[in-house]
Symmetry: C4
């Protein structure tokens, strides 16, 4: 296999992903499995007893992953010129370097190289190791099924953002009022508005940890109203998304062709 | 710039808000930023350590805001006669004074002037300062995007109110029954029906702080039924709003035609 | 006003409720207000300090209400023969006596007469007094707006019942498994399957009081799965009701008349 | 009744379930009642005091059920050849043996025979007894009404699985971040990422037991964001299912016509 055809094959395997390309699917499956293995390793490594006993395995997984992800990253940048959009050797590759997928790929490997280059203390190392978690975002490239939900959420983005804003407004107002009401009775839990917002968010989202709650009659009355309003506000995203899914699929499913004349209904 | 054209310009900048009017947009952005800065200051001022250290900054923000909001308020009332609806100098301005936006603008500044006019004790001052929070409502003038959600909620107002009424009925009945069942076992937490309603609202909204909960077998059985009913009842607003969003958009998106003449309904 | 026309008028005022009948509306409003006053009195009476200080007022409200509700009940039964459905003096009235509304009306007054007829101890009296709460159901006669939601819920009754059944099945299975897993670690909180169901219902409905929760690793893992499943299951009624509201209103709103030919679309 | 007709009758009664077949309905009702009795017995048997006092009754119910379910199982396998699909005496029966319903039927009886065949210790016996719970799945055969909901869920399977995956991704990321933030302040509750996931799942599902919660400012801030995101993510299944129910019924109810020929689409 010569240089040209090897580059073309790399591109086909890594980027194109034709469903009848056996090697492309195998490589995809291998990288996806490696990502999941990484996530699992990061989670389990945080358990002290496991870390102590199986440090070597975790290290091997990490080193192996870095090799693979680095090779993958280099091959992608090298072969991307096969794609028309990025066909210019330098400009195209630079453009690709700053695409979302490519940045994710870089974040997945860079943290591992930092401690090799500069001396860092152990807390920073722990923070850097945590960055490896973002490897989970590498999955977004492979998960074509995500796109439907993402499209629905995107099509309703404006309304969802406004819902969020309404929630935040309610949070600010209710926490401020509650701070004014409860502060005297419980000066520690409701010491300031930001502190009261911890109660507010637990109440509005109905999590209700139970570490802070009003004890005065007026405070309880207001908390009740806020809890009910909170449930109402959180019915908004459900309603918005229900409509979003309805719209997307209506175009696909309910309006196709007329059974009488066979023409497209839209 | 003469008196007449200055009044007209004030009106254009403050009220009309044409999207191609650069100064109108700049002033809007300035006032919106000032409102957010105010909310932030009110929240942070409640933190004792911040209040002690940065009292001066909070005071400057407050004084500056009062100046701006007062000037804004006066300019709005003065220039509103440019609008046809309020064109009569006295009647028009009086009518505008009692409009929703204008009252909000007044509430945003009046509290600041009260302590200057009459002597008030510190607790009242704190209450008055809290009124500044309502400045957040000044945003409603600028937030055009809110209108869609507000329209949906308004179109479903009746059903949402009835849902709320159903929730309250369930709250009263379940709290009364629970009071009867648990009162003997926990005379303090379930001391009266209003006291039991604190448990009731925490259960129906699924907040569940965990400060009060039944301990008798019958009480637990009833609490379980109520929690399940509560979830069902709170599915109502989600269903209602989902339908509300659906209806609004259906007018825009759907593809129905009349079966009599075959033309598009919309 | 003779006997005949008085009976007819009673029927018109109490049952028919034509919207242009001023006295009918006044009497309706009076009885609705009285029902709300009763509910308020029952709730407040449970507060010991209020009961001690205002016992006389509560008693007067109760006695007055009993008089009014008794007169209302007698007049309804007497005048119901004006309605064609119940026109036969004895058979018609008996049939009416066993209608839903009539039974509610009876339950609203009967408890008050029991202590007069037979000697009862104080605990039974308290139970009887609680029965007065069902007076709230008298409102169902007046609340025409409830009917829309009731119709939607009724049209989806079968699916809602199945959702409930699915929730109960999940509750039984998850509680049984959790009992098996946690029983040894917490023999008191998870002493039996029925006891574990208290944890189960608090978890599935996401109330989460926090009085019982698993402490073993396996128990926590299972609790997490159940909490997620529970959220999914409770999305069912929201989805079902959203669809229910959609169907009912579609008939009313979205399919009216064609603007081209003016004919009814349905 | 000869061999042939008895086999045919068994098949008709057990499998076919024609609604006008009185004996088929009686037998169905009997087996359904027996299943419910079994579930009840399993639940009540876990209560120590009931187990001690009524051990004999529980044993009788169990023995009786095993007899019935065994006879039912054998009759089903024997008579299934009446169904065209399984008409071949050996191949057909083998195929039926590995069908979902048949495996459930086997699981319902097999656990009871194990202790008779081999000696097992008491803990294993308890585990085996718990397997009897799966008898509840025998109901799936009879519950025709489940099918609508099952179809809706099945038609939205892909989107629901992706929602679940999104929840798990959020759970992993948020728990890892929270572990990093809170670990130092609460080394016991947030001892590792898996341990922190117990907090994460309680927060994302809004259960909020209150046994673990962040105490640092940054931790509380992040927990608030996660709780709000969690509510948003759990609005997804509600929206998806609402759309699912909408699609199924739209085929039945909606009133669309083709704009090309004007005829009704359905």
């Amino acid at each position: 296999m010569n240089y040209k055809s090897f580059k073309k094959r790399s591109y086909e395997i890594l980027e194109k992903g034709a469903s009848d390309d056996r090697w492309s699917r195998r490589i995809d499956l291998f990288i996806i499995s490696l990502i999941f293995l990484n996530i699992l390793a990061i989670i389990l490594e945080s358990v002290n007893s496991l870390k102590r006993d199986y440090q070597l395995i975790f290290d091997y997984i990490e080193i192996f992953s870095i090799y693979i992800f680095t090779i993958e990253y280099i091959l992608r940048i090298w072969s991307i010129t096969e794609k028309e959009e990025y066909s210019q050797p330098i400009q195209g590759r630079l453009k690709y370097l700053f695409s979302f997928s490519s940045i994710i790929d870089l974040i997945a490997i860079v943290p591992a190289y930092i401690p090799l280059l500069i001396g860092v203390d152990s807390r920073v190392v722990r923070g850097i190791r945590l960055l490896r978690l973002f490897r989970i975002l590498k999955l977004s490239r492979y998960n074509r099924a995500f796109s439907h939900i993402r499209n629905v959420v995107k099509s309703k983005k404006e309304e969802l953002v406004i819902s969020l804003f309404a929630v935040l407004t309610l949070l600010v107002i209710s926490s401020s009022l509650m701070y004014f009401v409860e502060n005297k009775a419980q000066p520690e839990s409701f010491s300031s508005i930001p502190a009261t917002m911890w109660w507010g968010v637990a109440t509005l989202t109905t999590v209700g940890y139970g570490d802070v709650y009003p004890i005065t009659g007026l405070g309880k009355f207001m908390a009740g109203i806020m809890a009910i309003l909170g449930v109402g506000l959180f019915a908004l995203p459900a309603g918005i998304l229900a409509n979003g899914f309805g719209n997307t699929l209506e175009n696909k499913d309910s309006c196709q062709t007329c059974k009488h004349c066979g023409k497209d209904i839209n």
